[in-house]
């Protein structure tokens, strides 16, 4: 193989259509006779439905039908959860349209089908619904008491408790004993606020019931899983369902779901016999598409006075919201393997209790479990460094796995194949100008400057490339983690690559072309990558968990290699040589030691014409491959943030951000940089801007883009990104995955930086997002408590809710960062 494409910053194939307006997003699709849906959503977070009067809506102009939960109760089934983390996991049924009970504000209670979208929306105003309100449970600590139940029929808010214990697993010591014997134990409680994935394309679904197959176009990350789950949920033969994910406008885990709206659109199309379309509004999206994060992390870290970490105990409360989505219960469990991160511990225990609340369901959001784990351990490491008056980087050096120790079996049962934390950290420190910035911080601290400087450190690793199927099986996930690809050589020598992953902004069409161009020696532009349609790409497990390249890309390599072997047989036959004497390089099969040879395209045409093939040779070079990884991949990196905090206003400014990631070999450095940039901003947004805020009745207050603060360019600096390259040894490409890295590492870097700036003023913790108001309030509290304040317990409910004048004047609680 001659490497010319891999590693080059190829401009993307996808861009031409996206920058000229020739897009195919689901909402662009128009079909003959198409009807439009609008949803009636519960205004109450918890209620029983006592009556629904649809008469006026039914007779409203353009309305074809109204569906209520009762209308479809026998056919709508229950939305699927594919990850029962324990055998006794509890879950309420999840009807697409609520029948008699709603458990969060925004849940669908009726659907209008009309000739136009405007008529459908007009008619939902005419539906009269009587509710009996029930008490709501919103807070995780309250949910744990079962005093108020999110689902009274369930009898408890506890869905499941999942435990990993290093002593039980035989990977380490007993954490209680280790902590008891430790010279120092830090006890902390950190809060992971609720976030909203906030993909830019609102979810949209079109279902065409005409013809023999029902076709669904949907803004989804998971067309294959969606097809399977629609068949199972609605008892439709799987072969009768085709799912297409056309252009999809971002996902970040938020479109890794089987949604009520998809099921309802399917039901509506089957009822009416007409194509039906549903496109949500932004407010519906923020309110009812699944949220992410939402955890209380209770932590105990033991250490020696020399700064050697001895053990870690993690006790989590995880907010499921009102229902279990496709992988909801498993999200915090994905974090279980990452709290030890890049460090060596003697003892580790992880316990997570999954709880129901009367808020929107949660599920995967970029990083899914791993950002929470990384945040916790990196905050703890900085707190420990402060406690020991030690440089936070030096503390990490004392505890991390050294590069010569790989492969390394971790206390959480993973085998890290490769890594070089020293190299990435040294590079980051150099780019950052760490010593100079620390000196400036110390000067400004000594001078008592109004604007203080803080240095935030975050090192991380993650497990990605989900996933070895047998590991998923051991974790009780219902599906595997393999990926499929097909490589077809057309008679002209052009190549089609069919992939089972389903990109929605990641640039797979470009990167897969680069891989195949090098592998088969065909021009980049002669390769077409097909994906996102179950009729074209019959097998696949789709895109999430930084898996597309690590798993899907490897399937492409395996399929291409099979093509080469088939072509070698044909080449040997045509060149009258033994297959052992046929060499393949740069797209050409040659007889060793001669100038005789044939190009892949010539062999493809000979195979197509099939006039002269070896006896018994099936006249096709096309090849399928299904790749199941043997291990995860483990990207890592070091991120450094210089944060300025105005001690009088609480304003936080990100002055400088440096990250050095090690994601192994890189197929396209331009795309990788883009993934890192976007990931960083989502992680920074958790630290500084974003939060799904609910009022005391469970209504989402941050229900528009005015209130849910997705950062803009004006909120951010530019970033310095660099890489070290320690190839993964568990796949032939040596790649690791990059989609989630930035999001996982950046949140603790930012918060650590903010705290470093003002810790000397008595501030030990600030609940995220670190808005100016919260920072200011923490400074006031710190000043009143004096230095050396007690161990911090952050405000449990969004602290700004009690803020007095700001709220009583009617402004929204999150409005202080605009």
């Amino acid at each position: 193989m001659t490497v010319t494409e891999i590693g080059s910053p190829r401009r993307r194939k996808e861009d031409q259509r996206l920058i000229t307006g020739r897009t195919r997003y689901t909402d662009n699709i128009v079909l003959p006779g198409m009807l439009h849906l609008a949803m009636v959503r519960s205004p109450f977070a918890h209620a029983t439905i006592t009556a629904i009067d649809t008469h006026d809506a039914t007779s409203s102009p353009g309305v074809v039908a109204v569906l209520t939960g009762r209308d479809v109760a026998d056919e709508q089934g229950s939305l699927p959860c594919a990850w029962p983390i324990t055998p006794d996991q509890k879950a309420p049924p999840h009807p697409a349209i609520a029948v008699d009970h709603v458990a969060f504000a925004g849940e669908v209670v009726a659907c209008v089908i009309a000739r136009s979208a405007a008529e459908a929306r007009d008619a939902i105003e005419l539906i009269d619904i009587d509710y009996d309100e029930l008490p709501v449970v919103l807070d995780l600590e309250e949910a744990l008491t079962d005093a108020t139940l999110a689902h009274p029929d369930l009898g408890t808010n506890k869905s499941a408790t999942w435990v990993f214990d290093s002593a039980e697993a035989g990977t380490g010591d007993d954490v209680a004993q280790v902590l008891a014997a430790s010279e120092l134990v830090l006890e902390r409680t950190y809060l992971q606020q609720r976030l909203i994935p906030a993909f830019m394309e609102p979810r949209s679904t079109v279902v065409d019931p005409t013809g023999e197959q029902i076709t669904m176009w949907s803004a989804t990350q998971v067309p294959h899983l969606l097809r399977l789950m629609l068949a199972l949920t609605l008892s439709i033969p799987e072969g009768k369902v085709r799912v297409v994910a056309p252009d999809v406008g971002g996902g970040f885990g938020g479109k890794l779901q089987v949604t009520p709206e998809e099921v309802i659109t399917m039901l509506a199309a089957r009822r009416t016999g007409k194509p039906c379309k549903y496109t949500e509004t932004r407010s519906e999206s923020l309110m009812a598409a699944h949220h992410g994060r939402g955890q209380v992390q209770r932590l105990k870290l033991g250490a020696t006075r020399e700064g050697i970490v001895t053990g870690l105990s993690v006790d989590l409360l995880a907010d499921m919201g009102a229902y279990l989505g496709l992988v909801t219960p498993g999200v915090p469990i994905l974090g279980a393997f990452m709290y030890n991160s890049i460090y060596k511990f003697a003892a580790y225990r992880f316990s997570c209790t999954n709880l129901f609340t009367n808020k929107a369901w949660t599920d995967a959001y970029r990083g899914a479990g791993r950002p929470e784990a990384t945040f916790a351990i990196e905050r703890l490491m900085d707190d420990l460094a402060h406690e020991l008056d030690m440089d936070p980087v030096e503390l990490r050096r004392k505890n991390w796995i050294k590069h010569e120790e790989f492969p390394f079996s971790t206390i959480a049962c993973l085998e890290y194949d490769s890594g070089n934390y020293e190299a990435a950290t040294d590079r980051a420190l150099e780019l950052f100008g760490y010593d100079d910035l620390c000196a400036e911080r110390d000067r400004r601290r000594a001078a008592g400057d109004r604007v203080q400087l803080g240095i935030g450190v975050s090192t991380f690793t993650e497990m990605c490339g989900l996933a070895p199927s047998r590991v998923l099986g051991a974790l009780s996930y219902a599906a595997g983690g393999w990926e499929h690809a097909q490589v077809r050589v057309l008679p002209t020598g052009a190549v089609e690559v069919v992939t089972g992953v389903s990109g929605h902004g990641q640039g797979h069409e470009t990167a897969w072309s680069q891989i195949v161009a090098d592998r088969l020696g065909v021009p980049f532009d002669s390769i077409e990558v097909l994906h996102g349609d179950t009729q074209t790409s019959q097998k696949g497990l789709d895109t999430y968990g930084s898996r597309s390249l690590v798993v899907g890309g490897m399937a492409v390599v395996a399929a291409a290699d099979k093509v080469i072997e088939k072509a070698r047989t044909v080449a040997a036959h045509l060149l009258e040589a033994s297959t052992d004497d046929i060499e393949f390089a740069e797209g050409r099969f040659s007889v060793r030691g001669t100038d005789q040879g044939l190009a892949l395209g010539e062999i493809a045409f000979a195979t197509f014409s099939a006039h002269n093939l070896p006896d018994g040779f099936e006249p096709s070079l096309d090849s399928d491959a299904t790749f199941d990884p043997e291990n995860f991949s483990f990207p890592h990196g070091t991120h450094l943030a210089a944060m300025e905090v105005d001690t009088e206003t609480g304003e936080v400014t990100l002055r400088k951000y440096v990250c050095v990631d090690d994601i192994g070999n890189v197929i396209n450095p331009m795309i990788v940089d883009g993934q890192v940039h976007g990931g960083l901003v989502q992680g920074i947004a958790q630290a500084l801007f974003e939060e799904a805020v609910h009022d005391e009745s469970g209504t989402l207050v941050s229900g528009s883009f005015v209130d849910y603060l997705v950062p803009s360019a004006a909120d951010l600096p530019s970033f310095t990104t660099d890489r070290t390259v320690t190839p993964s040894t568990t796949n032939a490409l040596g790649v690791k995955g990059v989609g989630e890295a930035g999001t996982i590492a950046s949140t603790p870097a930012i918060v650590n930086g903010v705290l470093d700036a003002i810790r000397h003023l008595g501030v030990q913790d600030i609940a995220m997002p670190c808005s100016p108001h919260r920072v200011w309030k923490a400074l006031q509290d710190g000043a009143s408590k004096g230095l050396g304040a007690e161990e911090p317990v952050p405000d449990r409910v969004a602290p700004e809710q009690d803020a007095g004048p700001m709220n009583s004047s009617g402004n929204l609680p999150t409005g202080d960062f605009q």
Partner: protein, 172 residues
């Protein structure tokens, strides 16, 4: 489910003439029809995307008589007789990419592409006002548009690149 039998009562419709990307369109729309919907659904120019329908994200930004405008906040009837430029109109007459489009491709200024049309129109107008922006000015130029994928770094780079391409195309 109940079937509806009564005849629908039609909403009052208004005749509106729009010039979109140089071509004239006559549409008959209800007074409440948003320009974004008229462009997408009545005229069939689906390159303009609607990301939030409350004027924050900027995905639906079009140029109205050259000025960047949120088409989700504008009624079609109030655009009567005006000139509209959408993303489809940013391509050169020979079909080649316009400078901002080319810069987005060169600089990897987009990932999923959903917000991109609004950035392209915004920057086209922005560079007309300020053909040689500093990095800070480039950042400010796009401060009213949301992108969830790119972290904006490469969009800022694309603004600067588009300014270069524009300068090359029109030597002083």
């Amino acid at each position: 489910m109940t079937e509806q039998t009564t005849e629908a009562v039609a909403e009052e419709l208004h005749d509106v003439r729009l010039t979109v990307n140089g071509a004239s369109y006559d549409v008959r729309v209800p007074a409440r029809r948003l320009l974004s919907d008229a462009l997408r659904h009545d005229i069939g120019l689906t390159g303009t995307h609607v990301g939030c329908e409350h004027g924050v994200c900027g995905a639906c930004t079009i140029l109205l008589d050259g000025a960047p405008t949120r088409s989700c906040l504008l009624l079609t009837v109030s655009a009567d007789g005006r000139e509209v430029t959408t993303v489809e109109g940013l391509t050169e007459r020979d079909g080649s990419l316009g400078p901002v489009q080319q810069a987005f491709k060169d600089c990897h200024g987009l990932q999923c592409g959903f917000c991109t049309p609004g950035f392209l129109t915004t920057i086209t107008a922005g560079l007309r006002d300020n053909p040689d922006p500093s990095e800070a000015e480039a950042r400010d130029m796009i401060g009213g548009n949301l992108c969830r994928c790119t972290g904006y770094a490469n969009i800022v780079a694309a603004v600067l690149r588009a300014a270069e391409l524009g300068a090359e195309a029109e030597p002083a």
